[in-house]
């Protein structure tokens, strides 16, 4: 049995969970077994996971699970995985997913694979997963040697497809240990797709000269429905919030489209973005290293190019949607 831990946000299934469940159902096919989804805490629309391949959806509804605690979550998931005989446990490669992956691997004596980005191959009875290493500069094949595997799935690895109907959510009861932590405050920018989940990212660097110039970047992001990001010196000098910093020491992302504006393309920057499917670089320096990693390049002054690009997208959107 493949057990997928689905994530929720404000009582609703997170979009990224459809991909995790769909991936789980494909792994289950490879193993000739079924995929089951698990929801921890309150959630009103868990049945939707059925459409993406969960044979059953289980929910531990307890209010105590509405805030995340890696220790408590691990105990609950472990109990269920053991009772149900899970062979593969899958979580999202999110901040919560990464917090429980190592714990689960110890608790279940399971081989961990952080950030799988493809379906595994079954070789000599063992699952082989691929994952990016060296900040995306290489791809590793990781073989799980134990009976059980625990995987975190890198977002945007495969396109979830609706395969069937919703299913009824089954409430299950497990013992929930007391938490030794207390969540005091959660702050989340609203209405913006978080960087790791964004399909399109518009990112800008020191070429912007001054934080007051960011309007043109935000306008472009708005017409594309994109999330904004920045290079490290931009975050370090306080021009942009530090959660926008992408790269080797920032967030690693892999959107469908990454647009880099006034960023030179230093190796540490590329490390966090070079897994993007398509890269557009706007830079006035024809020798900027970023052009070598780009699919499309525009050489010229960003202050002229970006507003024109925004207008062109607007025109396109008004005729295509």
């Amino acid at each position: 049995m493949v057990l997928v831990v689905a994530e929720t946000l404000e009582g609703k299934i997170k979009n990224s969970s459809f991909e995790t469940v769909y991936y789980g159902s494909k792994v289950a096919e490879i193993l000739g077994t079924s995929c089951h989804a698990l929801i921890l805490g309150p959630c009103s629309d868990g049945g939707r996971l059925g459409s993406f391949g969960a044979k059953e959806v289980w929910q531990v509804e307890d209010q105590a699970l509405s805030s995340f605690d890696s220790q408590v979550y691990t105990k609950v998931i472990t109990q269920i995985a053991k009772e149900q005989g899970a062979k593969v446990v899958i979580v999202a490669d999110s901040s919560n997913g990464k917090s429980i992956l190592g714990r689960l691997s110890i608790a279940l004596n399971a081989g961990p694979v952080r950030g799988a980005n493809k379906l595994p191959e079954l070789k000599d009875g063992k699952l082989n997963f691929q994952r990016p290493v060296f900040s995306g500069k290489a791809i590793a094949t990781c073989r799980v040697n134990s009976e059980i595997a625990v995987i975190s799935l890198m977002g945007n690895s495969l396109k979830p497809q609706s395969t069937g109907a919703e299913v009824a959510v089954k409430a299950i009861n497990v013992e929930i240990p007391a938490s030794k932590t207390k969540v005091i405050k959660v702050e989340r920018s609203v209405g913006i797709v978080p960087l790791p989940e964004a399909q399109i990212v518009v990112s800008a660097g020191r070429g912007m000269k001054d934080p007051s110039n960011w309007g043109i970047v935000e306008d472009l992001a708005a017409v594309l429905g994109a999330t904004t990001a920045c290079s490290r010196p931009v975050a370090d000098s306080g021009w942009r919030p530090h959660h926008e910093h992408v790269g080797q020491t920032g967030i690693a992302i892999r959107p469908n489209l990454y647009i880099a504006i006034g960023i030179s393309g230093a190796i540490q920057h590329l490390a966090g973005v070079n897994s993007s499917k398509v890269i557009v670089v706007i830079n006035k320096d024809p020798e900027a290293p970023f052009f070598k990693a780009a699919d499309y390049g525009v050489c010229g002054d960003l202050f002229e190019i970006v507003p024109k690009f925004t207008e062109a997208v607007k025109k396109f959107k008004s005729t295509h949607h």
Binding site: Q71, S95, P112, N145, K277, F291
Partner: protein
């Protein structure tokens, strides 16, 4: 406060990434190694700041062969009081976590720091594994850690924001950017590091649950298609029709 900081060694951020023996082994030829930035800049420095505020000691622990003592001496030069090296080839996060937990088990550390991930294998596993082995709370991706009396208030990065958590010790955290400011070792630090205690320990037996069997470097992008800066309609067309991303 008694603090333990797990430090790892990684290739420099600009190192050429290549593999040998048919893609089974990382080619270290010409590669310079450094202390993992998350461990050095954030975990270690915040540990030292806590010690400076509250008193106590900072111990660093590293699982690796004798050649890696360079990074241990650097950690001591930055200000750690003493160090432990588990004499082994670190083969997997599991193999490392087992050693750290075995060492820390009877030492009653108040806080154990790890980095959020190493910049080579990027596993992000060791911290959580150690916490589970010791049955302690684990807070990952921590960008702020302050004490009000005995209670620590810890801020962790989450998608698109942050979460503030209260925890009473002992616990494990993994350090992310923002937790502290990098410190450069000074001459006095470098001199005193030479005489600070470094204990070498034989590893406990361990069986890894997963291993790497192959590596490959993704094919480089063929060549960039340059678009006329005065024709952004063309860029939009390419992104729509050719790349199919908008």
């Amino acid at each position: 406060m008694k603090i333990l900081v797990a430090i790892s060694q990684t290739p420099e951020t600009t190192a050429r990434i290549a593999f040998k023996n048919e893609g089974t082994i990382f080619d270290t030829n010409g590669v310079n190694f450094i202390m993992n930035p998350y461990d050095e800049w954030y975990a270690l420095v915040r540990a030292l700041e806590l010690k400076e505020q509250k008193g106590g000691s900072v111990t660093v622990i590293h699982c690796g062969p004798p050649a890696n003592e360079v990074i241990i001496r650097k950690a001591l030069a930055i200000g750690a009081d003493d160090a432990v090296r588990i004499n082994m080839e670190p083969l997997s996060a599991h193999s490392i976590a087992i050693q750290i937990a075995a060492y820390a088990k009877d030492q009653s550390f108040d806080v154990i720091f790890a980095g959020k991930e190493t910049i080579d294998y990027n596993e992000s596993l060791v911290g959580g594994m150690v916490a589970e082995l010791l049955d302690l709370p684990f807070i990952s991706h921590v960008s702020k850690l302050v004490y009000n009396d005995a209670v620590a208030s810890v801020t962790r990065d989450i998608e698109g924001g942050e979460e503030e958590i209260e925890v009473t010790g002992p616990y494990v955290v993994s350090a992310a950017k923002g937790l502290a400011e990098q410190r450069i070792p000074n001459m006095r630090g470098i001199m005193s590091a030479k005489t600070k205690p470094l204990q070498v320990i034989t590893p406990v037996p361990e069986e890894s649950t997963a291993d790497y069997i192959h590596f490959q470097v993704p094919a480089a992008k063929t060549s960039v298609k340059m678009v006329d800066p005065n024709n952004m309609d063309e860029l939009v067309r390419l992104l729509h029709e050719e790349a199919k991303v908008i």
